[in-house]
Symmetry: C2
Subunit: 399 residues, 2 copies
Amino acid sequence: MSMKLSTKSALIPPSPIRKLVPYAEKAVKNGVKVYKLNIGQPDIAMPQCVFDAVRKVHVNNLPYTNSSGITSYVEALSMAYSKKGHEINTDEIVVTTGGSEAIYFALMVLCNENDEVIIPEPYYANYNGFAIQVGAKIVPITTHIETGFALPKVEEFERIITPKTKAIMICNPNNPTGKLYSKEEILQLRDIAIKHNIFLIADEVYSDFCYDDEEHFSLLELDGVDDRVIVCDSVSKRYSMCGARVGAIISKNKNVMDAVVRLAQTRLSAPYLDQVAAETALRHSSDEYFINVRKEYIQRRNTMVELLHKIEGVECPMPKGAFYVVAKLPVENAEAFAQWLLESYSYEGGTVMLAPAAGFYADPHNCPQNYVRLAYVLCQEDIRKAMNILEHALKEYNK
Amino acid sequence: MSMKLSTKSALIPPSPIRKLVPYAEKAVKNGVKVYKLNIGQPDIAMPQCVFDAVRKVHVNNLPYTNSSGITSYVEALSMAYSKKGHEINTDEIVVTTGGSEAIYFALMVLCNENDEVIIPEPYYANYNGFAIQVGAKIVPITTHIETGFALPKVEEFERIITPKTKAIMICNPNNPTGKLYSKEEILQLRDIAIKHNIFLIADEVYSDFCYDDEEHFSLLELDGVDDRVIVCDSVSKRYSMCGARVGAIISKNKNVMDAVVRLAQTRLSAPYLDQVAAETALRHSSDEYFINVRKEYIQRRNTMVELLHKIEGVECPMPKGAFYVVAKLPVENAEAFAQWLLESYSYEGGTVMLAPAAGFYADPHNCPQNYVRLAYVLCQEDIRKAMNILEHALKEYNK
């Protein structure tokens, strides 16, 4: 009886993105080149100054840093936000171990057991794992491909708000849909938050990835809800430093930050070398670096979406941010198709790995079973090849 | 009403070790040299090969690693444990973000809300923060300076075991007491675990720090309780790499490891560069490196304890492991004394910073108010100076 593990540990879902990994490994073993469109790990080089900085670090040993982050890095973050027009003091920032920990801290600070957090779905699958650890309940509000995954109307939010609702959480720009929420959509959230006395959490780790001259409207820009806003950030995507595990949590709510600091003290510190690397990227990478990165992603997106649109039966909106597309495929079951691609198909020696979108829904059965998420984190030539494979595969599959 | 933060967030205690920091900062500002005996951050140099490895890392960007850790590092860990006589397969190890995350994972996997974990007290203060996040209740079992902080008898454990008891957790060698538990003490825990059908968790991050030819008896050596044992490890202390945030959780219980892997997937990965550094330290640091480290700590310990024993009214056992001493001081209240040392005292331009032991007790009022923890992580000369200051300070304070 006492040997039973915790209820929560049984509920933590395995990563849906990694479910197909064994099939991919087998394909590779069989000599098939697998174009991985299933994960959001950028292939782009970090800024050169990061390499130089890490090589130049001269320490006798690797020390703990301040639990809230290396002071000079926190200052650099504060300046960077202010450059974007957000006045954020250093005591309104705590450096976290990746954006992941920022999300976990936000939920832990706000939610008691069974408190509810409304999240537009499809949503980043790992939110489930964090919510379960905290005991919070994710209440999905479904967005639709037909409207480009726009936020539902106020009435739809109000229909699911209960006395247990603690916050609305968004990812902006969105993983998995690539949707960039407009200023109007964010203002609508503000009004709901004030009216129903709840918090707003935004996962803004893709905030620099906005395309076609559209601008990111951060929760930090909202007036009159300083006390209600928590923003989660990360260097993972911006500088291609996923493995650094350096993020940040930002809030002007003093009670929130006081609790976050205590949570941060419990785990002592975020990694030292990686904070040095992150600070270097922030202070010393050229503006040109990210201009080029963005240019590259726009071209990749255009290539992928254009080619997707040319495939018969495929539908997808033109995403305005992040580096993902959710597409509807002319198949019955995207998961079976994704597995078939890896197990039984290749074209000119290659196949593609897709992420079935069901993993991004609170209830996988809620998801149209023919949706997939594709990440455009490969070079354009590989994207072209992958789309060509996908086109041929769909013909073959539907014979 | 909904703007209230979570109950748990209010319970997370601030770090007791860092409470005196503002006073120390003020002393430094006033030109006083502060000998920091309050924190367990080693000053010893990392193995040289770690510097070299980090400088030689040639990657285009910093990737996520496998959620369970870089495969070759996990293999190196498996080999290292086997060298110590523990047969641990690679799927019985998950690399964690510091020993901290290993502790959190262990508690999260085992404990439902209000489940109890028995921990000999005084104990590492951050266990409180992790237990609160998980909703577990720490049930302390007090150990005493008079017996060198030995484990209490079986009957004392049995008196506090309830149907809610999920595990006994120890830190061995112990932080804060420096106690190294004997084989007999560990066998006693095994018998209790079997009889009462509970788990055993050991925080063994100091396992290499054992002195005077006494050997560390790991939970991994126990027969017949493979299913009940979880061990938490870390490179922080062994290689002076606290800021790497690389630890490990080890168990032969398949259900435990299955849950740990899913928890690890939720936060994606431990830091990449730091795992490379940790693997290098493990594979390529010379045996000599750690022989010298241990020699240095033994000399520091001897110096500190000898000098403590010479101070009138000070009592402390000779610790056999880790790098801490818990000492009884001839003062009424160690916290007031520690603050006075920083605020109002200096001798030959210096003062010392101590950690009042109350912070290491489940109920601070349970702690004899005149106990402190001292870490011998300074060079011997500084330890001598610090002990000299302490001696003069006690005379002055008790005038």
